[in-house]
Amino acid sequence: MASPVRAALMITCLGDVFFPEVGVAMVRLLRRLGVEVDFPEGQTCCGMPLFNSGYRHDAALVAARTVKLFERAPHVVVPSGSCAWMVKTEYPGLLEHDPALRAAADSLARRTRELSQFLVEVLGVTRIDSPFEGKVTYHDSCHLLRGLGESAAPRALLRGVAGVELVELPGADECCGFGGSFSVRLPEVSSSILDKKLASVEATGARCVVACDAGCLMQMGGGLSRRGSAVKAVHLAQVLGGEDPA
C-alpha cells in the first residue's frame, strides 16, 4: 500500500480565531480521505494584511517565519484562497534578499495549495460523501479566481456531493467588498458592494452561499446576519466535511 499523504494545515489568522469550525471540518474531511494532518503550532498569519497596506518589510518578516515553520511539510493546505495566493505568489518576491529564504519560499510556494485545489489536484477527489443537502450557490473569491486561476475545483466538489444542487450566482466573479483593511477604511463603499452581492445571492434561492476564503465569509456572513437573511455563508469544508452547519 502507498504511504499516506501527509499535509500541514495553514489555518490562517481568521480561520483560527473566528472560524475554528471550518478548520475542524477540514481536518475531519482530510482524515476521512486518508490524509495525515499536521498543525505546526507556531503559526499566526500569512502577513497579507501588512503586505496589502504597503508594509512590505514587515510582511517579509512574517513570511520568513512562516516559510521556516512549514519547511518540512510535504504539502501545505490552506482554507483561504487569498492566503494561499500570498504564500504562492508573493512570498518568493518578499524574501528575494536572502538566497536561502528565497529558495525556501519557492519550495513552500510549490507545496502550498488552497483546499479545493488540494482535494482535486493532489488527492484526485471530486465525489465526496457528505450529508449536506439543498440548493447552494458559489462565490468566487478574488484571489482564488484571478490570483490562482481557480474556478473549476470548488464547483466540481460541490457538484460531487449527492444532496447538493449548485446554482450559479450571477456576478459570482465580482468582489464581495471585503478587501481586508479596505472594509474598514471605506466601510460605506465596502458595504454597498456587499449589498449588491447579497441581493444576487438571495435571488438565487439558495440556502447557502459557499466560498473558499475566510475574508469573504466574514463579509458576506456579517451582511447576511445583519439583514436577518435565512441564507448562510459557509465554507466549502463545511459542506464537504460531513456536518450540516446551516
Binding site: 489555518i11 503559526q43 496589502n52 504597503g54 471605506l186 466601510p187 451582511g223
Partner: protein, 468 residues
Amino acid sequence: MSDAALRTPFPERAGAALKDAFLQEALKIATTKFIDLRRESFAGFPQGEALRDRARAIKEATLQRLDVHLERLADNVERLGGHVHWATTAEEARELVLRLCRERGVRMAVKSKSMATEEIDLNEALERAGVTPVETDLGEYIIQLAHEKPSHIIAPAIHKTKGQVAELFSRELRGEFPADPEVLTAVARKALREKFLQADMGITGANFAVADTGTVVLVTNEGNGRMVTSLPRIHVALMGVEKVIPSMSDLVVFLAILARSATGQKLSSYTTLVRGPRRAGELEGPEEFHLILLDNGRSRQIGSTLREALYCLRCGACLNVCPVYRQIGGHAYGHTYPGPIGILLTAMLKGNGAVRELAHASSLCGACKDVCPVRIDIPRMLVELREHLDREKIAPWTERMLFKAVRRLLLSPAAFRLSAALGRRLQRPFVRQGRLRGLPLVLGRWTRTRDLPPVAARTFRERWKELR
C-alpha cells in the same frame, strides 16, 4: 475638481456619491452594459489574448526608447508641414495653445473628446483668454452645458441619466425635450453644426501617434472628431508623450483591442488618421497643423514604480469592472482620471501626496488587471504606491503605529494567542445572538453595517489538542 472640493475627505465624497440615487442608477446601467459588451466581444475573438500580449510588449519596448520615437515622430510631422511643440508642464501646454489663439485671432475653438486637455484644464484657460471652447462629443457637450467634469475616461457623462440630460437640454437650449436619446442627440447635433462652421480652431487629443509616418490617430464614434480636424483653419492636437508608437503595423495591434476593451466594438465607428495640414491640391483639411507633446510628469516615471501606468490606452475598461468605481462613479475620486488606473495616473501627475486616501480606494480584487488590454498590473502597483506612502511618511502616523503593532502580534505566537483571549473577554458586552454588534473605535466601522463573528469560545489552536 476644485481645490475647495478636494478639501472634503475622500470617504465623504464617496459617501455622498453612494447617496445619489440618480448616479447609482446611471452607473449600474452603464457599467453593466460596458462589461457585457466587452466580454462578448473578446469571447468571439480568440486571437485577442495574444494581441494583448503583443500590445503590452510594444508599449514596453517603445518606452525604453521614448526619446528616439518622439524625435522621429516630430521629424515626420514637420516634414508633412506640421508644427511640433514640446510642453514639459501643463502650464507650458496651455500657454502654447493660448499663444496660437492670440497670434491667429482665434475666437472660438471646437474640441473633440480629449482627456489630455482635461488634464491641463484647457477649457478654463481658453475662457479666461476670451476664446470660447465648444465640446462636440455628445457626452462632453452635456457636461460642458452642466458645468461639470468628465466622470469616466470614455463616457464623460456616464453619471447622468437620460432624464437628467433632457432636463439640462430643455433648460440650456430652451425647448421642451423628451428623455429620448435619439431626440436629444438630434438637438445637440443641430446646435453643434453651426459651431463647427464658426470655429477658427479645432482641438483634439490623440489615441496614438505613429512615429514612422507622422500620423496622429483618433478613435471616435460620433464623427465629430473628423469635423474638428478638417473644418476649422487650424488643428491643434495635444498628446501625452507616451502615446507614440513606432509603426503602422503596431497601430493595427492596438486598434484590434482598443475598441473591444472600451465599448465591445470591433473598431470604433471612426478611425481618423491625420497627416499634417491640407496640402496643395487637397480640397479639405486645416491650413495649419500643430502637435503638442505633453510630458507633465510622465517621462520621470519611466524608471519608477508607476512606469506601467504609461502603457494605458485610456479605454476605461478598468473603471467599468472596478467594484469601487461602480459604487461611487468618477467625480468622487476628485481628479481628472478616475478609477483604478486614475489613482496611478494621479500619483504620476500630482505626486504621492495627492493619493494618500485614494491609494486605498481598491479592494485589490484584480478585476482591473484582468480586463486591461495591455495587462497593467494595477493591484500590484497600488500596493507599491501604499509602500511609498508608508516609507515617505505620507500615511498617517497612527496607521503606521497600528501596523507596527500588528507586525509584533504576527511575529509572536504567544502574543497572538493572548490577543485572542483578550478579545474574547473584551467582546462580552457586544455579543448579540452569537454576533458582535456596535463595536467601538475602528471596529465600529465594520459593525455599523455588518455583524462580526465573535472570537470563538475556543480557537482552532485550542481545539487541535483534542483533534489529535
